[in-house]
């Protein structure tokens, strides 16, 4: 990796902490990822992207900024990426998957806050996230109480937070509210980028976002094969990278990888033996570099075949209908598309139950592990309904965070679950 120290210093990162973070990240990546057997060649690109996660990509975005493009950071798959792309902005899903800066974060928010919220506060406060420093706008949203209130504090710290109101129900009034939010977001992006959203550029944005979704859908379908052509860890990584990589390049590289996986499936080649136990993970998002549960499950000899998660299926399940002829019509379709997302912040949220059942079937999962971040009440609560809906399909719920202190207990639970699934 080139020397980026100057760039990081200019971004105001805490160089000492940051060097520590990268060292831990590289070490973890080596142990968890590079030690896997039989990885597809196409993963080399993603290995490279990770090795340059705070390097080359940051340099690219810095150059894009110098060329006049604006950077929008998000924390939720409800934020319409198409609008940012239409205005030639760079859209980045922000870092929130590691236990860093907790002490700093706890000066502002309670200890009993979910790891994801603590992490995005921590990354900023400890001076560890170059992406946050590059943003011109940080978009929050009202999905859960924790995030909602944390954004108020985050606004005091960064001064560039904009919050979208996500309704809690999906009735006509909520649909109107959300549609209004999408229109307002478009205006906000226009104001920041000083660009007008037109039908043409909105279509371009839609096509970029859909391209990425199609590639991820293709990857998801290929994971249905037995033997599994790719590990759950690698597939999770690709999903995580999709939030911050250049969309055109990401789509190309993911498609290339998928072509390789198709070849593997034809030859009956897999990363695990045929008949290895297959697990679907369902629940809270796993932001980069949260690879904890996947590595435990796959370390025990099973394969993760899907993530019913925002970093996963919820992000790419639905395409935006590109067949619109005015900006208004496009925004209308967009509002509809996004309101299909089955986040646990909605009530009721029965679509999610159907989606989990359908994923279990399509991906030939032998069992479902429900993953909730500790203190993530919406998902913790829904676990009950998921278990009921799955009937006789083996099910286990886990609650955990980013720390490593419970890995021993999780291993025992996961292994005991896999013994049951057999």
């Amino acid at each position: 990796m080139a020397d980026y120290t100057e760039m990081w210093r200019n971004l105001g990162l805490n160089l000492e902490n940051h060097a520590g973070l990268l060292a831990v990240l590289n070490e973890g990546y080596k142990n968890i990822y590079l030690s896997q057997k039989g990885r597809p060649r196409g993963m080399e690109y993603f290995d490279f992207v990770i090795s340059e996660v705070h390097g080359l990509r940051i340099k690219e975005i810095t150059e894009a900024k110098q060329a006049g493009r604006k950077v929008v950071g998000t924390f939720c798959v409800y934020v319409p990426e198409e609008i940012v792309l239409a205005a030639d902005g760079v859209c980045i899903g922000l870092c929130a998957g590691a236990e860093v800066g907790s002490d700093e974060a706890e000066k502002f928010i309670p200890r009993n806050t979910c790891a994801l919220i603590k992490a995005f506060m921590g990354f900023k406060l400890a001076g560890l996230c170059p992406y946050i420093e590059l943003t011109d706008l940080i978009v929050g949203e009202t999905t859960c109480d924790g995030k909602k209130k944390a954004y108020e504090i985050f606004q005091n710290i960064t001064g560039k937070v904009y919050v979208m109101e996500i309704p809690n129900m999906k009735n006509d009034e909520s649909k109107r509210l959300w549609h209004g939010e999408v229109v307002k977001f478009k205006e906000t992006v226009e104001a920041i980028t000083k660009k007008t959203i037109t039908v043409e550029n909105l279509k371009r944005g839609a096509s970029l976002a859909n391209g990425k979704r199609r590639a991820l859908q293709r990857l998801s379908r290929l994971r249905a094969a037995d033997p599994a052509p790719i590990s759950g860890l690698d597939a999770l990584l690709i999903n995580q990278v999709s939030f911050y990589d250049d969309p055109v390049r990401f789509t190309q590289m993911t498609d290339k990888l998928c072509a390789e996986l198709e070849e593997r499936i034809k030859q009956g080649f897999g990363v695990a033996s045929k008949g290895a136990r297959r697990v679907l993970i369902s629940g809270s998002p796993m932001a980069i570099p949260n690879w904890k549960l996947h590595s435990i499950i796959e370390g025990a000899g099973a394969v993760v075949v899907g993530e019913e998660s925002c970093v996963g299926e919820r992000n790419f399940r639905d395409l935006l209908d590109e067949n619109f002829s005015t900006v208004d019509e496009g925004l209308g379709k967009m509002a509809e598309r996004y309101l299909e997302i089955d986040c646990a912040c909605f009530t009721p949220n029965d679509e999610r139950l159907e989606n989990i059942k359908s994923m279990t079937q399509k991906l030939h999962a032998d069992g479902v592990i429900h993953y909730a971040l500790q203190f993530c009440t919406p998902y913790m609560m829904e676990a009950y309904k998921v278990e009921k809906a799955l009937g006789r399909i083996p099910f286990m719920r886990l609650e955990t965070d980013y720390s490593m202190e419970d890995v021993g207990q999780l291993k025992t639970r996961v292994e005991a679950f896999l013994e049951m699934v057999k």
């Binding site: 609650e399 202190e405 021993g408 207990q409 025992t412 639970r413 292994e415 005991a416 013994e419 049951m420």
Partner: protein
């Protein structure tokens, strides 16, 4: 053919030797800071044709001597059935986790619950509290049963409960009564975990804590049913592992 099961728990290592489903020998040693040495000793002193490891430290042996492993959940299911052929529910208060395991009619694990990561409601909590009150673990339960008055502990957290015990002692509360309150606090926790299942007989209390008469009595009171305890409950996991090793079905 002899088969050895080794259950490496957080507090004790248990070894059980079986032949044709019959019990030959068993050993127990403190896990200490060098569990592998203790395991090696058992492997030498109880030579077997097949070995299976279970318990929290099972992977140690897997790496050390290429020994197969199963989780203690599965091992307990097998071991408990060997003691009680109609067992459908197992309660285990272990050194660092407390488990409730439900079995189907065939004796396979159907569901299980484990406590969260903290030490509340575990054997370790009991051990710390016994030490605080100056009891040995062996006498702790029987002495608690001699309490006359009922007092409540308000905290289940090991750290908070410890200071609560100090303040109760300072108030002059008899230590038998404090001991009883500690037992009750643990059982409330285990029972609430157990109540998440439809409890089916026989309910077996397994693991070393099952020797404690007060825990057993309180469990029976709380769950309103008979609880069965085997002759050597601490060997449940090791025995289960040994029986699996003998079948070598895994």
């Amino acid at each position: 053919m002899k088969a050895l099961g080794i259950d490496i728990g957080s507090r004790y290592i248990k070894g059980a030797l079986v032949e044709k489903g019959k019990w030959l020998d068993f050993q127990r040693a403190e896990t200490s800071f060098d569990p592998l040495e203790k395991c090696d000793q058992m492997l030498t002193e109880m030579p077997a044709d097949r070995v299976m490891a279970t318990g929290y430290g099972r992977h140690l042996l897997e790496v050390h001597a290429d020994i197969k492993t199963i989780t203690e959940i599965k091992a307990f299911a097998k071991g408990a059935r060997a003691f009680f052929s109609n067992c459908h529910t197992i309660l285990d208060i272990g050194g660092q986790d407390t488990k409730v395991i439900a079995l189907n009619d065939q004796g396979n694990v159907w569901k299980f619950e484990m406590n969260d990561r903290c030490a509340a409601g575990t054997g370790k909590f009991l051990e710390i509290m016994a030490t605080n009150l100056g009891y040995s673990l062996e006498e702790f339960g029987s002495r608690a049963l001699t309490a006359h008055q009922e007092i409540q502990l308000s905290s289940m957290c090991t750290v908070f409960a410890e200071s609560e015990v100090v303040s109760l002692t300072a108030k002059g509360v008899a230590r038998e009564e404090i001991a009883m309150a500690i037992h009750r606090a643990i059982i409330n926790r285990v029972a609430s975990m157990a109540k998440r299942f439809l409890l089916q007989d026989e309910v077996v209390f397994a693991g070393g804590c099952a020797h404690n008469p007060c825990l057993k009595a309180l469990l029976e009171q709380n769950l309103r049913r008979n609880i069965r305890v085997g002759s050597i409950p601490e060997m449940t996991g090791a025995l289960g592992a040994a029986l699996f090793a003998e079948e070598d079905g895994i």
